[in-house]
Amino acid sequence: MDKDDDTSIFVSPFEQEAVVTPSIVKSSQFVAPGDDILSQESVVRGHGTMVQGTRLTSTVAGIVERVNKLVAVLPIRARYSAEVGDVIVGRIRDIVSRRWKVDVNSRQDAVLLLSAVNLPGGVQRRRTYEDELKMREFFDQDDLISAEVQELKQDGLIMLHTRSLKYGKLENGIFISVTPQLVKRSKKHFHRLSCGVHIILGDNGYVWIYVDDAAYGEDEEEANFSKRRENDKSNLEQRLSLIRVRNSICILDLYFLSIQPETIMLIYEETIRRNIPVQHMLRPDIINDIYRTVKNTKEM
Amino acid sequence: MERRISQRYGPFFEPIHSLEREYQRTRPNNAPRSLVLNTGTVVDAAGSGYVELGKTKVIVAVQGPRPPIRIRGGVENTMNGRITCEVVKSSFCYYSYESTRMANVGRGVSEEERLLSTRLVRVFEPIVILDKYPKCSIDLYVVILEDDGSAFAAMTLATSLALADASIEIISVVSSVTVAISTKQEYLVDPDRTESECAVGLITVSLPLHAAQLCEIQHTGKLSIQVWLSAVQLAVEVAQTIGNSMCQFLLQEMEKNETPSLCS
């Protein structure tokens, strides 16, 4: 108990706190709102740009991105902008007639229609009035779900669907919110890390870290409305790995580093290598050290 | 230059030596004052309770469960009920001109009243079974008619009676008592105002009768841990006896009022 006292309280001056430096710069160009974007003629204007007279200027603070003829400015830190096909993690905010309102860290709440979810038993049928009354049994308020962006309406309304076995209610894990820009859009969102921990990296910056029995996986043939499983008391080892992954993602978020399975495992393994116990992982001095060690690795 | 006068509404901790010397406690240290209980005093309310602890008199009226009057922040707390509370200290409570002036009597809710109402809600939130009353609000209206020490304890007792009278589902009757630690290191149960003001420390404990748990502890003054624990233990014992009297009273009331048709 005495030993605990020594390490249970850590007070440090502010200077030691993490210094945030954006590190997604490769060979891009930073612009501020109003800056000219040097461009050739006949370019297609993308997000974050505006034509003022003859000049093409930026409207946000960010990085210029050029893809063929498309010129856009990606803001450094902004609310999540949905694209069709994105996989997201969302929290049910409200239940209204035949639809759920879902918080996805965007400008508006997304909408998940009753007709866009899989009913238990995998049955395809018309939604009856009874289904409408039972909506709360499928997804209740404050529940976390994984879903895919089906459609974007004209007014920016995001329509979601969970019409696949891998989507649905999330259980047995930890939720964490990071800056959306740090999660790159990629083909895979459901990952199994080499330490045995599963994660879902939502494109909207919401991340779900969980442990999964072998019975449940991405390619499992069960309907995603499982009966309420008993929350097994996973063994302590698994839980600690999960917490270590969670802390690693926190460190990446703090230093504005891209969040991918590789980078997460880099931080994870570095903390194992240095024998840093889980509870000390978020101390300012320790994360400074870790950052300095890993920032020059090529994955970063 | 704007200057705010900090409100002194609690006991004053400089021992009033002259007062203390003249004052004699007429009952044993661990005995509470005479207790008077009554229910049904407010006709309009769903339930009401009246408590006299010595000269301290408190009356509590309960309205509800009913739809909430004010929706907090625009978002309804749907699946659980809510408790709201308004406390008013009548003008008879203030014994000196200074404190009346400072207490904002007649000019809206004073800070002390607001604090008392928040505390009372805190005591009863785990006690009232709120998920039986979704989308409803249970409103408590408290009037402190006279304050001769231990007003909060009297408030808690009266609220328990009122809730029972209104047939609102509660885990248990809540009993409450104050213990003062005097300058001579004595534990005085249920102090009156003089004793409270001369005390080094004051502890009010509220507990549900049939559980080994406390629902609220209020503390003022500086006490060492041992003194604190002994005071709390003493308070718990006395509170249980008071609570038992309350239960007996409620049973007596029911027997008095029962109509033959209700029991066969």
């Binding site: 309280i9 850590f10 007070v11 001056p13 502010f14 706190e17 929290r91 905010r93 209740d140 404050d142 529940d143 976390l144 999330l170 259980e171 894990g173 930890i174 929350n231 302590l236 600690l240 917490i243 969670r246 802390n247 509870q279 992982m281 978020l282 101390r283 300012p284 | 200057r3 900090s6 002194r8 004053f12 400089e14 907090r72 922040g73 200074e98 800070e111 607001r114 604090l115 928040t118 939130e125 785990p126 502890i203 507990l207 559980a211 080994a212 748990q213 406390l214 629902c215 609220e216 502890i217 503390h219 003022t220 003054g221 500086k222 006490l223 060492s224 841990i225 604190w228 624990l229 709390v232």
Partner: protein
């Protein structure tokens, strides 16, 4: 309101049963604390403190005031707690008033009980003039456990507060106070007696120290105790049904942890001043 799903709450409860929390801490461990003093040049004393994700800014202003209600205090303490709207939407409007009232009351009660400023040197003209310390507390960011962050920041701000020297001139029964304008003619306050709060949340059947905002949302009870350097209790705030037996066990932990915490805070301030 921080939202937590039933599944998350269940996982949190199970994790706490094993003795760990979701960020890896033990049950009685504080989050990393960062501290900075002297951040507000216009205030007599100031500090900025970060506890996990909670951030608090405290400024102390020193004035001379009239004595109120024949009290014998040398010093009047006035606490004002405000939460910036950017921290949380919870703290706009009426809810904010009752929340800040409670915190102010808790601080006032704890400091009064601890008799922090009974130093003779602080007395001006007993019965007429006394020092008035206005402590303004601004919560910049809410990350759970605001009470502890506020009390720690208040103590460190007061420990670096400079009180100007005052010359009292008595003429024909009336007093005149001349405040020394010289910026070096100041004394620092002695705050060894100042208490700090330790807050526990009751989650399931376990008490956890320094709850994060998630843990506060899942808690069914709360216990905040103000202790001074000797381990004496200056104020208690409680909520929810608490087991009486657990309390005595907690109090020993509180006494020990409180002492370590106060030492660490004082050390950090001292190191900051010497560097």
């Amino acid at each position: 309101m921080y939202a937590v799903s039933k599944a998350e709450k269940a996982y949190l409860l199970d994790t706490i049963e094993t003795g760990t929390r979701l960020d890896g801490r033990q049950l009685f461990e504080y989050r990393p604390i960062s501290l900075q003093v002297g951040v507000l040049p216009s205030a007599s004393g100031s500090s900025r403190l970060r506890l996990g994700e909670t951030e608090v800014l405290v400024g102390v202003k020193v004035e001379v005031g009239d004595v109120v209600e024949s009290s014998n205090d040398n010093v009047q303490l006035l606490f004002t707690v405000e939460c910036s709207g950017s921290a949380s939407a919870d703290f706009l409007g009426r809810e904010a008033e009752s929340w800040s009232s409670e915190l102010q009351n808790a601080l006032e009660s704890a400091y009064r009980a601890a008799n922090v400023f009974d130093d003779e040197r602080l007395s001006l003209v007993p019965g007429k003039f006394c020092w008035l310390f206005k402590v303004d507390i601004l919560v910049l960011d809410t990350g759970g456990n605001m009470m502890d962050a506020i009390s720690m920041a208040t103590r460190t701000a007061l420990s670096t507060t400079l009180v100007p020297r005052v010359h009292i001139v008595q003429s024909e029964g009336s007093f005149e106070l001349e405040i020394d304008d010289n910026p070096d003619a100041c004394d620092t306050l002695k705050v060894e007696k100042a208490p700090t709060f330790l807050t526990f949340s009751l989650i399931g059947n376990h008490f956890v120290l320094d709850p994060s905002i998630q843990e506060e949302t899942c808690a069914r009870g709360k216990l905040s105790v103000a202790v001074d350097a000797n381990g004496d209790i200056c104020h208690v705030y409680s909520f929810g049904l608490l087991d009486a037996v657990e309390l005595s066990r907690l109090l020993t932990i509180i006494k020990k942890t409180g002492k370590v915490l106060l030492n660490r805070l004082d050390e950090c301030v001292k190191n900051g001043e010497s560097s």
